[in-house]
C-alpha cells in the first residue's frame, strides 16, 4: 500500500532551480532512501514535506493531499539538533511535549525505550556529555517516540566517523527489523543506502531529478554473510556508476541479477 506519493515536485529559490520534478513513492512499512550528491536538494525536499517551504507538484499521503503539514512526519534534521540546555530525556520527550503531553507523562512514555537505544543510564546527562553515536541515537529516539506515520531521516549518520557510522547502520537495521517503521532516509553514502533500504531513489546533481530507482531485494540482516556482502557490493558499484555518469551495466529496476 502506497503511503507517500510525490509527483513532479519542483522547487526553485529565485533563479536557482533545486528540484526539477521529483516523483517517488513510499509504501507502508517500507524503508526507502534518497541518494544524491551534496547540494542536490535532498534537504529541501524534506522541508517541502514538513511544510517549512512551499513548492509545486503533487504531494499525497494515503491518497489525500499533504496540507495539514507536520502531523504525518517525525522529522530528524541533518544535524542532530539536540538542545544543549535540555537533558537527554527531556530532548527525547520534546515532540510529545509539543503534542500536549505533560513533561511527566512524556518522560514515563520515553524512559523504557532508553535501553533499546543504548542510552540506559544517560537519561539525566546533558547532550554535550554524549559521544557522536549516542547523540544520533538520542535524536532518533526523539524522532520515533512521536509515533507519526512516517520517519524522515536527513543524513542521520553523516557527521560520524566511519567506524561509528558502520556500528550505527547495523544498529538501525536491527531496530528497523523490530519496528518496521515507514521511513524515508536521505544519505549520500551508497553503502548505507544499500544496507538499509528496500528501494533507493538516486538523484542527479542540482537541479535534482530521479535518475534511477534501485530495488534492493536482499534478505535481512544484510551484514551477516559474505555472499550477501558480495551482492550488496555489486549493487553499490552499479549505483556509483550511475552517480558518476559512466556507462552502466545496471537496469533501472534491479532485481538482484547484477553483473
Amino acid at each position: 500500500m502506497t503511503r507517500l506519493e510525490l509527483r513532479d515536485v519542483r522547487k526553485s529559490f529565485g533563479a536557482l532551480e533545486v528540484l526539477a520534478g521529483v516523483s517517488l513513492d513510499v509504501g507502508a512499512g517500507e524503508f526507502v532512501s534518497i541518494l544524491g550528491p551534496s547540494g542536490a536538494g535532498k534537504s529541501t525536499l524534506f522541508q517541502l514535506l514538513t511544510g517549512a517551504l512551499k513548492g509545486e507538484g503533487s504531494m499525497r499521503f494515503d491518497g489525500a493531499p499533504l496540507d495539514d503539514h507536520g502531523a504525518r512526519f517525525a522529522f530528524m534534521p541533518q544535524r542532530d539538533a539536540l538542545m544543549p540546555w535540555r537533558r537527554v530525556i527531556d530532548n527525547a520527550t520534546l515532540g510529545l511535549e509539543v503534542q500536549g503531553l505533560s513533561r511527566r507523562a512524556a518522560r514515563q512514555r520515553v524512559a523504557p525505550l532508553f535501553a533499546g537505544f543504548g542510552l540506559a543510564g544517560f537519561e539525566r546527562a546533558w547532550p554535550a556529555e554524549l559521544s557522536g553515536g549516542m547523540r544520533q541515537r538520542a535524536a532518533l529516539l526523539r524522532t520515533v517516540v512521536q509515533q507519526r506515520d512516517m520517519l524522515l531521516l536527513d543524513e542521520p549518520f553523516g557527521a560520524l566517523d566511519a567506524l561509528t557510522r558502520a556500528a550505527m547502520q547495523r544498529w538501525l537495521e536491527t531496530m528497523w527489523q523490530g519496528n518496521r517503521w515507514t521511513a524515508l532516509l536521505i544519505t549520500h553514502d551508497v553503502r548505507e543506502a544499500v544496507l538499509l533500504s528496500d528501494r533507493i531513489y538516486v538523484l542527479s546533481a542540482r537541479p535534482a531529478r530521479v535518475v534511477s530507482e534501485v530495488a534492493v531485494p536482499l534478505p535481512r540482516p544484510r551484514t551477516e554473510s559474505a555472499a550477501l556482502a558480495r551482492e550488496a557490493a555489486a549493487i553499490e558499484a552499479g549505483i556509483l556508476d550511475t552517480l558518476l555518469g559512466q556507462p552502466i551495466p545496471i537496469s533501472r529496476s534491479s532485481d538482484g541479477e547484477l553483473k
Binding site: 514538513t50 544535524r79 539538533a81 515532540g95 543504548g118 543510564g121 546527562a125 546533558w126 556529555e129 549516542m134
Partner: protein
C-alpha cells in the same frame, strides 16, 4: 549591528582552561565499542583550579599597590596630591560610617536601575523578535541613545526629574540597557536553524518555538551582555549622583574633592570598585546556576582528553 558579543570569550575564566583539575573520567578499559560510555559522574574540584588561575592577577594587583605605596612615601609627594594606598585604607576605615551611609543609596539606585533595564531588555527584545518592523524602527534609536555623552545628559536628567531615585534609575538603565538588548536580539537570531525547523515540524507555533528554542539559545549571549552591562551600572549611578543628589557615593566623592581630600575620593572609588566586582561575580554565579550544561560541556572535553587511547598507550 556594530556591537557583537562572543559568549565564548567573555567571562573571567575561559571554559577550556577550567578543566585541568577535574576528577578522573570513566576508564577506557572494558569498552567493547568506543561508542559506549559509562554514565557521567558529578563531583569536580573546579574551585581549586579557579583559585590557582587567580594567582597572577592577585600578584599583579599587589605589585601595583606596592609601587604606588613606595612612590607616594619615598617620592616626597604631599598626601593631598597623591595619598598612599595605606592612607586611603586607613581613612576609609575611619570614615566607614559615612562611606556605608553613602554607599547604600548608590546600591539602591544601581539595583533598581538595573532591574528596570533587565526587564525592559527582555520585553523589548521579545517584541522586536516577533515584529520585524518594530526592530527596524527601534534599533537605530537605541544605537543613537548610546551616542549621548553621559556628562551632558546626567545634569539634564536631574534637572527634569529632580534629586530623587528616578533620575538615577533612568541613567543606570540608559547605560546598561543597550548591551543586554543587543545581546538578546543577537542570541535569538543565533538559534540553530535545524532546531527551529524540527519544532515547526512537530507542530509548534511561533511562541512555542520562541520559548523552547530561541530564548534558551540566547542565554549565553544574554549573560555576555549582562557582564558588560553590570560593570557600567555602578558608574552610571555615581554619574547621576555627581550631577545632583542628597546622598550617595557620587556626591560623597564630589564633596571630598572640594575639601581637598583625595584620600577620601579614592576610598569612595575603592568602595564602588568592590561593588562592581561583587555584582560581576554575582552575574557569573547566576550564569553558572542558570546554565548547568555549560559545565557539562567542559567536563566532557576534559574526560575525552584524558581517555584518548593513543596518549595512554605510549610508554
Amino acid at each position: 549591528m556594530a556591537v557583537s558579543f562572543d559568549p565564548m570569550r567573555g567571562g573571567i575564566i575561559p571554559a577550556s582552561d577550567r578543566l585541568s583539575e577535574e576528577g578522573v573520567g570513566p576508564s577506557a578499559i572494558g569498552e567493547s565499542r568506543g561508542d559506549i560510555q559509562s554514565p557521567p559522574q558529578g563531583g569536580r574540584s573546579a574551585v581549586t583550579s579557579a583559585l590557582a588561575k587567580a594567582v597572577p592577577a592577585v600578584l599583579a594587583f599587589a605589585l601595583l599597590l606596592t609601587a604606588w605605596e613606595l612612590y607616594a612615601r619615598l617620592g616626597g609627594i604631599a598626601p593631598t596630591m597623591l595619598p598612599a594606598p595605606s592612607r586611603v585604607l586607613q581613612q576609609a576605615w575611619e570614615n566607614r560610617a559615612a562611606l556605608a551611609e553613602n554607599a547604600l543609596p548608590t546600591i539602591r539606585a544601581t539595583l533598581a536601575g538595573f532591574a528596570c533595564s533587565l526587564l525592559a531588555a527582555f520585553i523589548l527584545s521579545a517584541l522586536v523578535d516577533f515584529l520585524a518592523p518594530l526592530r527596524r524602527a527601534l534599533l537605530p534609536l537605541l544605537i543613537a541613545s548610546q551616542t549621548l555623552p553621559l556628562v551632558a545628559i546626567a545634569p539634564l536628567v536631574v534637572l527634569w526629574f529632580g534629586f530623587g531615585l528616578l533620575p538615577k534609575i533612568l541613567l543606570v538603565a540608559l547605560v546598561t540597557f543597550f548591551p543586554m538588548m543587543v545581546a538578546l536580539v543577537e542570541g535569538y537570531a543565533a538559534t540553530e536553524k535545524e532546531i527551529a525547523q524540527m519544532l515547526a515540524a512537530m507542530g509548534a507555533g511561533r511562541w512555542r518555538i520562541f520559548r523552547l528554542a530561541r530564548l534558551p539559545s540566547a542565554l549565553p549571549y544574554f549573560f555576555a551582555g549582562l557582564r558588560i552591562s553590570i560593570t557600567y551600572a555602578v558608574v552610571g549611578a555615581i554619574f547621576a549622583e555627581y550631577a545632583g543628589a542628597a546622598k550617595g557615593l557620587g556626591i560623597y566623592m564630589l564633596s571630598a574633592k572640594n575639601n581637598f581630600r583625595p584620600d577620601l575620593v579614592l576610598a569612595a572609588v575603592a568602595v564602588s570598585s568592590v561593588l562592581t566586582l561583587a555584582l560581576f561575580g554575582l552575574a557569573v554565579l547566576v550564569q553558572q546556576i542558570a546554565m548547568p550544561w555549560e559545565n557539562a560541556r567542559s567536563g566532557k572535553a576534559g574526560r575525552e582528553a584524558r581517555s584518548d587511547p593513543s596518549a595512554q598507550d605510549r610508554p
